[in-house]
């Protein structure tokens, strides 16, 4: 008969007790945290869903094909995933506070990544989110347009189409790779025109330390499958006669490529004055130069103004120099009639947007007529 030597009795006992306790904890967790299926009513009953409880609302909705925008993949660090929750789900969490204004709080706005599905909910989301789809596309082409920006052209699955307004963005997902254990999504404006219904194109600039941009620039291959969710965003051209004052830098070019090509496609490129200010450091940082220069030549009401902040001798640059905000300010005073109605369209980093808005407002542009998607 085998007996456990006395030397090992205590460690074995501790091990057995630990295993039993762990099992008890696991069972208890499943019982206590088993919320079952939760009923979620959207927009006053327009859509009703039954979602597995216990998970964040953001993920639960996504499982049911309702995609709320998120720039951080649900980590509570971007504030993009706002929804109105008309049910009483308790006080605002500390993780939500940095992202909500007083008005939003009084309006029942919450971050859907921080709302756990524990009870039936009545929520409200922007109507356009019902148009958002989840696509498993194929990378048809990857092309370097500058040393740090890649143009990524995605073909949608056969039989599928995308409908969006030029200026909107999609969420592009990098799979898990290297030390990144989970897929990561980031938002990028679509640079393709809406007329191309079977493809989506993005301009993705390498951000040092950036998870998705590093993947795109080092690992992404033509022919590979890639997940894209969209379209999102309310950055679009307003239907007026006002002069469009458009400003971008780097990959901020993306929505404007879509917007300008869309206007060429539908014959409206000369319906109103369009000024496009594009800032870069040196000539090698400017791209689509030929296309934009040709648009300027071919269309009397389209004006392309590239500005270099630090042109190098080899650039032989005789165009505007300085930061794009300086050039913008100069043109708003010297070249664009002061009495002309204007709308601002901006795409770039939060810092660039703030600086451009300050210049535009200093030159008497109406802040309510300055439009942007504030993400990088």
């Amino acid at each position: 008969m085998n007996t456990i030597p006395a030397l090992f009795a205590a460690p074995v006992a501790v091990g057995v007790i630990s295993a039993v306790l762990a099992a008890l904890i696991s069972i208890t967790d499943r019982i206590v945290n088993n919320y079952g299926d939760i009923d979620v009513s959207i927009n006053g009953g327009k859509k009703s869903l039954e979602i597995k409880g216990g998970q964040p609302l953001l993920f639960g909705l996504a499982e049911q094909g309702i995609f709320i925008p998120s720039a951080c993949g649900g980590r509570g660090s971007c504030g993009a995933c706002k929804v109105k929750v008309h049910s009483d789900i308790g006080p605002i969490m500390p993780t939500e506070l940095p992202f909500l204004t007083k008005e939003e709080i009084s309006d029942n706005t919450r971050l859907s990544c921080q709302v756990k599905l524990k009870q039936n909910l009545d929520i409200e989301i922007p109507e356009e989110l019902f148009n958002v789809r989840d696509y498993l596309g194929t990378i048809e082409r990857i092309r370097a347009v500058t040393h740090d920006i890649k143009e990524v052209y995605v073909k949608l699955p056969d039989g599928e189409e995308v409908n969006y307004v030029s200026g909107q963005y999609g969420q592009f997902e990098a799979p898990a790779y290297d030390t990144i254990k989970t897929p990561t999504m980031r938002a990028y404006s679509m640079s393709s025109p809406p007329s191309d219904k079977t493809h989506l194109e993005f301009l993705i600039r390498l951000v040092p330390g950036g998870i998705v941009t590093t993947y795109v620039h080092t690992l992404l291959q033509e022919g590979q499958k890639i997940r894209v969710v969209g379209p999102f965003g309310d950055f679009h051209v307003r239907d007026t006669d006002a002069a469009m004052i458009c400003v971008a830098g780097g990959s901020g070019m993306a929505p404007f490529k879509s917007i300008f090509q869309d206007r060429v496609d539908n014959g409206t490129i000369n319906d109103r004055d369009i000024w496009y200010f594009f800032g870069a450091r040196t000539k090698k940082d400017v791209f689509y130069l030929d296309w934009l220069t040709q648009l300027d030549r071919d269309n009397e009401r389209f004006h392309f103004v590239p500005a270099l902040s630090e042109p190098q001798p080899e650039d032989n640059w005789d165009g505007p120099t300085g930061l794009i905000t300086e050039v913008l300010g100069h043109y708003l005073v010297e070249k664009i009639p002061a009495e002309q109605a204007k709308e601002g369209y901006l795409c770039g980093s939060p810092g660039m947007l703030d600086a451009c808005m300050a210049v535009m407002q200093a030159k008497n542009m109406n802040p309510e007529k300055i439009y942007f998607d504030k993400f990088a």
Binding site: P208, G279, A280, E310, S349, P350
Partner: protein
């Protein structure tokens, strides 16, 4: 090496998927106290003072932000590109929330970029200033003391 409850919690928060997808420790098998002590020792050997070089890095990052997302030459010695994304990041030590701003600082010679470059962020600078934490080996935001010295030379 045994850590205080504060550092043990921070170590947990630094794991991939907790605050950021990549985490703060890279592939380093050391705990954060070991990382900090080793880096403090190397910095001291190089004559680097955290109280001196961290403010320089922060100043360069802020100068870089003036480029509005494009590279900018600072003092004729560095090219700095500041990147910003929407939102904030929590410190793994649970002592603050920081803007998602990062900057690549490249030392130049005769106006041309050299290989001496560091990547900093609003959060990484806080961790350096307060805890002398330069992140684990393999982390994208890890700063080797030798590279700090070379870049700021």
């Amino acid at each position: 090496m045994k850590m205080s409850p504060e550092f043990s919690k921070a170590q947990k928060n630094m794991q991939p998927g907790e605050i950021t997808s990549a985490g703060f420790l890279g592939t380093d098998s050391r705990n954060i106290v070991e990382i900090i002590e080793a880096d403090e020792e190397r910095a001291s050997a190089l004559g680097l003072d955290f109280d001196e070089f961290v403010p320089v890095l922060r100043r360069l990052m802020e100068e870089g932000r003036k480029g509005l997302g494009e590279p900018v030459t600072v003092e004729g010695r560095w090219i700095v590109t500041a990147y910003e994304a929407r939102g904030h990041l929590a410190s793994p030590f649970e002592d603050g929330v920081f803007r998602k701003v990062n900057a690549k600082i490249v030392r130049t010679e005769n106006g041309k970029p050299t290989p001496d470059a560091v990547l900093v962020s609003d959060l990484s600078l806080h961790l350096m200033a307060k805890y002398h934490f330069l992140q684990g080996r393999g982390s994208a935001f890890r700063l080797e003391p030798d590279l700090i010295q070379a870049t700021l030379a």
